[in-house]
């Protein structure tokens, strides 16, 4: 207790030291007076009295010193002294200090911003209890790719595995929902009843699904997200009156999920899966699966467990072929969610780390130049008895001050930097909502600042205090000899800077070229002036109801054509490049006219005959769709009035399919069976061949596609496409009015096709913009670094240059000397940079398109750019050196 008490007293004593000092002086003074009074009383003369008193009191200053040490905390006092002195030194050259702080702020801020994204997306645990026990379960197809699960396979995983506490499947969908405030297109998940148990959550209101809710023919029930309950339903406490019309059926709202629970991402409603019964096929991969590991079971054990079951299915199933699973696997849910973005994000983090290094190098150079100006001060301090350790500590303190200011400023900047990053981030970047400047991010950036301070401080201190400091005094303040050493250090730093910058700019160049290559790819369709309108009608199975929906779409298309400015209207089941969209794919059969299969079950044996099986994407479109997107007709015809619901069903195939399946033949007139996609077993006669479309992004090859006619093979959800010269907003509101007119309960979602198209390149653009930005900033910093070191060197050598000129050196010689010195540094940097780039750009390989990681053109271009700017930065100081007047230079010092 007393020890603690005195610690606080000592801490308090760090403040108001002057008044405390005065108090002690007063006290000692009064002590003396008492003593003198006593001595006078004993009969001494006043002089004697005073002399004795002073003698007996002893050394007053010594007493004061002991007293002071006891009073405060000497260690902290030295630190405060260092801090005060450091702050004074920094304030003495405000320009240098400001530049150093801003440079550090830039480096630390950018690193903090990128780290906050990396942390939020990759590192932050998912917001579920024991989230590291939650895993995703996949089938593995014969190509070795992970794929979704087929219903019977999921059932086997669930019933036969011993590794899971709970396992659940889920699928995502966007459907029309009405009955709340207004009809909307809403993301829903179809889930098996144990879904919430996997995440260990429970409804905050109402109840969870029970097994009976998922039985075939059960009354439809739905769970809603907290946000949906609040905004769309008006937060009713009693759910018994809450119903939603989802996809045409009435669902009772039975529960509200806790705030923040949105899995899968952006879903608002959870419905029981398979209300219409399970799909018995082992090759229809409709569901994802998540599971919670049983206590004590590792992911590796679960993996073996699932793999064994999957292989058993593979070996015993009657459905063989390319779509039957070959194996199974599990991976942590967090990795499953973020797997695709992991390497691009780590590349970004690496890039920003390089930027930070370049920034630190600039600051190191600034401080080094500062330190050599301070040689005299250091010499005096050292002559007065300051130990080297004390001087080193002084430099460390200053570096700490700088990075603390820089770091704080950087974190402030990172606050809006993160907002910018989130706005700029591609839509497919998962977990963006968990990206923020959180406590771990702040801790990270504090540690980063401290590390920068330690690095910078140690480096400067060791450099500045090496050698015999007292020489600084002998030189009478010119400090040329010592400056030699610091100039060499400066050049090494600049070379390193150039090397790192080269790596960054090469990376940016490679990514930029990839983006350009991607943009040059012909997508196979027109992008501009197209408005897309998603509409989905209730899902129906009855052929008559389906035919009714075809008529509805036909009417809708006719009405949309009337909108002023709209030239063409079409419809398709999924637009190219749509995020998470894409056409479904499957296996079709080559058949002759008289081979009509009776049921889908009879497909099995036919699929074994390799020569009659083909694999293709399945598009459902109208004739207008090809016209709107400008997909060219290559042979035959596209759909027209002849192709009514009752006339023979026809198909149009893509060029690549024609080439692949009917090599050296005319595909027109052949018939195929693709009824496994929509349940209609009527044969399709091929009537035309159209151009290829890059459905899955410009960087993926086009897929062979079979298009069927929407009016012959109706479906309930389509995207309408309108080619229009009119303003998008006018078209949108007119189209909305027409839809409301036809059916007020059906919502629509509008987008321009160019939005979809450019979003498909979002992540590529994100990387290019950020790494390009880092590259440019690094280039500027490195240029400033070269300039700074050269200018400093020239100013330090003014006298020497003066002597050279006086002895007959021409200004050309001087220019060559300075440029030569600069060039050496630059070339060393560039050489190291090229080697480093060759080693590091390999990590970019997966992000590149149409360009090699060692692309000579990029390397050459970047090297030229860097050498050019660096030479320019040398040239300005070199010119100054050229014009040195020997008379002035020699008198100068």
């Amino acid at each position: 207790m007393p020890a603690l008490r005195s610690f606080f007293a000592q801490l308090a004593a760090l403040f108001a030291r002057q008044s405390r000092d005065r108090e002690l002086t007063d006290e000692l003074e009064s002590h003396l007076q008492f003593h003198i009074d006593d001595n006078l009383r004993r009969g001494l003369t006043p002089e004697e009295a005073r002399r004795h008193a002073v003698l007996e009191l002893g050394g007053v200053e010594q007493t004061k010193e002991i007293y002071r040490e006891r009073r405060g905390l000497p260690m902290i006092e030295t630190l405060l002294q260092d801090l005060r002195f450091g702050a004074r030194v920094l304030a003495r050259s405000p320009g240098v200090t400001a530049v150093a702080i801003l440079t550090l702020a830039l480096g630390i801020g950018a690193t903090t911003a990128i780290f906050s994204v990396v942390y939020g997306v990759l590192l932050r645990p998912l917001p579920y209890r024991d989230s590291n026990r939650i895993i995703s379960v996949f089938e593995i197809n014969p190509d070795g790719q992970r794929s979704h699960l087929a219903d019977p396979n999921f059932d086997d995983f669930r019933d036969q595995s011993r590794s899971f506490q709970t396992i659940a499947k889920y699928g995502e969908n966007v459907v029309s929902v009405s009955g709340a405030r207004q009809p909307t297109r809403t993301s829903v998940a179809n889930v098996s009843p144990d879904f919430l148990k996997v995440f260990a959550i429970q409804p905050i209101l109402g109840r969870d699904f029970i097994a009976a809710d998922a039985k075939k023919g059960a009354g439809p029930t739905v769970l809603v997200s907290y946000g949906y309950w609040k905004q769309e339903l008006g937060s009713p406490q009693d759910l018994s009156q809450s119903h939603l019309k989802i996809d045409g059926a009435i669902y009772s709202v039975i529960g509200v999920l806790p705030t923040g629970f949105r899995f899968p991402a952006d879903v608002d409603l959870w419905l029981p899966a398979d209300l219409g019964g399970e799909n018995p096929s082992r090759t229809s991969h409709n569901y994802s699966a998540v599971a919670r590991l049983r206590d004590g079971v590792t992911a590796e054990q679960a993996n073996q467990d699932i793999s064994a079951i999957a292989q058993r299915i593979h070996n015993t199933s009657s459905e063989q072929g390319d779509y039957l699973l070959k194996d199974g696997t599990v991976i942590p849910l967090q990795d499953a969610i973020t797997g695709n973005v992991r390497s691009p994000l780590l590349v970004l983090l690496g890039a920003v780390g390089f930027l930070l290094l370049v920034a630190c190098a600039n600051v190191a150079n600034l401080l080094l130049a500062q330190a050599s100006v301070r040689e005299r001060e250091l010499a005096i301090r050292s002559a007065l008895g300051a130990a080297r350790g004390r001087l080193v500590r002084q430099f460390l303190t200053e570096a700490f001050l700088l990075s603390l200011f820089g770091g704080s400023l950087g974190v402030l900047g990172a606050y809006w930097g993160v907002a910018g990053l989130v706005a700029l981030a591609p839509e497919n970047l998962p977990r963006l909502d968990s990206v923020s400047i959180s406590i771990p991010v702040l801790v990270f950036s504090f540690l980063l600042s401290a590390a920068v301070a330690a690095g910078l401080g140690t480096f400067i201190a060791l450099r500045a205090t090496s050698g015999d400091l007292r020489k600084g005094l002998e030189q009478g303040g010119r400090g040329e000899a010592g400056a030699q050493g610091s100039q060499r250090a400066g050049r090494i730093i600049v070379a390193a800077q150039i090397a790192i910058t080269l790596v960054l700019v090469v990376g940016a160049g490679l990514l930029g070229r990839s983006l350009m290559n991607v943009l040059e790819v012909n997508p196979g369709f027109r992008v501009d002036k197209i408005v897309a309108m998603d509409v989905s009608l209730p899902w129906v199975e009855d052929p008559k109801a389906k035919a009714g929906q075809a008529i509805f779409f036909s009417n809708l298309i006719d009405r949309l054509k009337q909108i002023p400015g709209v030239r063409k209207v079409g419809a398709v089941n999924a637009l190219p490049m749509e995020d998470g969209g894409g056409l479904p794919d499957g296996m079709f059969l080559l058949m002759t006219q008289n081979e009509l299969p009776k049921t889908a079950d009879s497909f099995g044996p036919l699929l074994q005959q390799k020569e009659r099986v083909g694999s293709a994407d399945f598009g459902v479109a109208t004739d207008g769709y090809f016209q709107v997107l400008g997909i060219p007709l290559i042979r035959g015809r596209i759909f027209d009035e002849r192709d009514g619901p009752d006339s023979p069903h026809v198909a149009v195939i893509s060029e690549s399919l024609a080439r692949e399946r009917w090599r050296n033949q005319d595909p027109i007139g052949h018939t195929i069976e693709f009824g496994n996609m929509d349940g209609d077993l009527r044969l399709l006669t091929i009537v035309g061949v159209v151009g290829d479309v890059r459905d899955y992004g410009l960087d993926a090859p086009p897929r062979p596609t079979v298009y069927v006619n929407l009016f012959q093979r109706p479906r309930s959800a389509v995207t309408l496409t309108m080619l229009s010269d009119a303003d998008t907003r006018l078209v949108t509101s007119a189209a909305r009015g027409i839809l409301r007119d036809l059916n007020p309960e059906i919502p629509a979602k509008f987008q321009t096709f160019s939005q979809i198209y450019s979003a498909s390149m979002g992540s590529r653009r994100f990387n290019v913009i950020l790494i390009g930005f880092f590259g440019i900033v690094a280039l500027l910093l490195a240029t400033a670094g070269v300039f700074g070191v050269m200018a400093y060197s020239v100013s330090r050598r003014t006298r020497e240059i003066g002597v050279r000129v006086a002895l007959g050196a021409s200004s050309r010689d001087v220019l060559n000397m300075i440029l030569g010195q600069g060039l050496r540094t630059i070339f060393i940097g560039v050489a190291i940079g090229i080697v480093g780039s060759l080693a590091l750009t390999r990590t970019l390989q997966s992000l590149l398109f149409g360009v090699n990681a060692t692309d000579p053109l990029t390397f050459a271009g970047v090297t030229l750019l860097l050498v050019g700017t660096a030479l320019l930065a040398c040239y300005i100081p070199a010119r100054r050196a050229m014009h040195v007047d020997p008379m002035i230079a020699l008198r100068h010092e």
Binding site: P2, A3, R5, S6, A9, Q10, E23, L24, D26, E27, L28, S30, H31, Q33, F34, H35, D37, D38, E56, L57, G58, G59, Q62, T63, I66, Y67, R70, R71
Partner: protein, 113 residues
């Protein structure tokens, strides 16, 4: 003067506390003089070490200080015992008594026997 003993470390604090207990509030010089007198002028207090010792006691909360005016109208800093100081004095005094008793027992009978 020369054969006077310096106050040895550790006991000064106890003496200060005891002096303040018996004399009431007192200034630094007064404390020093009183200690010397009580010792029958056998001890001399090093005034230089007195003030840091007083500061330490104050920081530990055993004494408190206040500026006041002496009988002959001099301004001086007066120290007085706090409640914690009184307790500390009791326990330390007890310890000293024990120590000296033990030492006495060690020294006297052995010499006789």
């Amino acid at each position: 003067m020369t054969d006077k003993k310096d106050v040895w470390q550790g006991t000064l604090a106890l003496m200060v506390l005891k002096t303040l207990q018996s004399m009431g509030p007192l200034h630094g010089y007064g404390i020093a003089r009183r200690i010397e007198q009580t010792s029958g002028d056998l001890l001399s207090v090093n005034y230089g070490t007195l003030y840091p010792a007083l500061l330490k006691l104050e920081q530990e909360g055993y004494i408190s200080s206040e500026w006041g005016v002496s009988d002959n109208n001099r301004r001086a800093k007066y120290y007085k015992l706090t409640r914690a100081g009184r307790k500390q004095l009791e326990s330390e005094a007890r310890e000293w008594e024990q120590t000296t008793e033990i030492l006495a027992r060690f020294l006297s009978p052995e010499q006789e026997s």
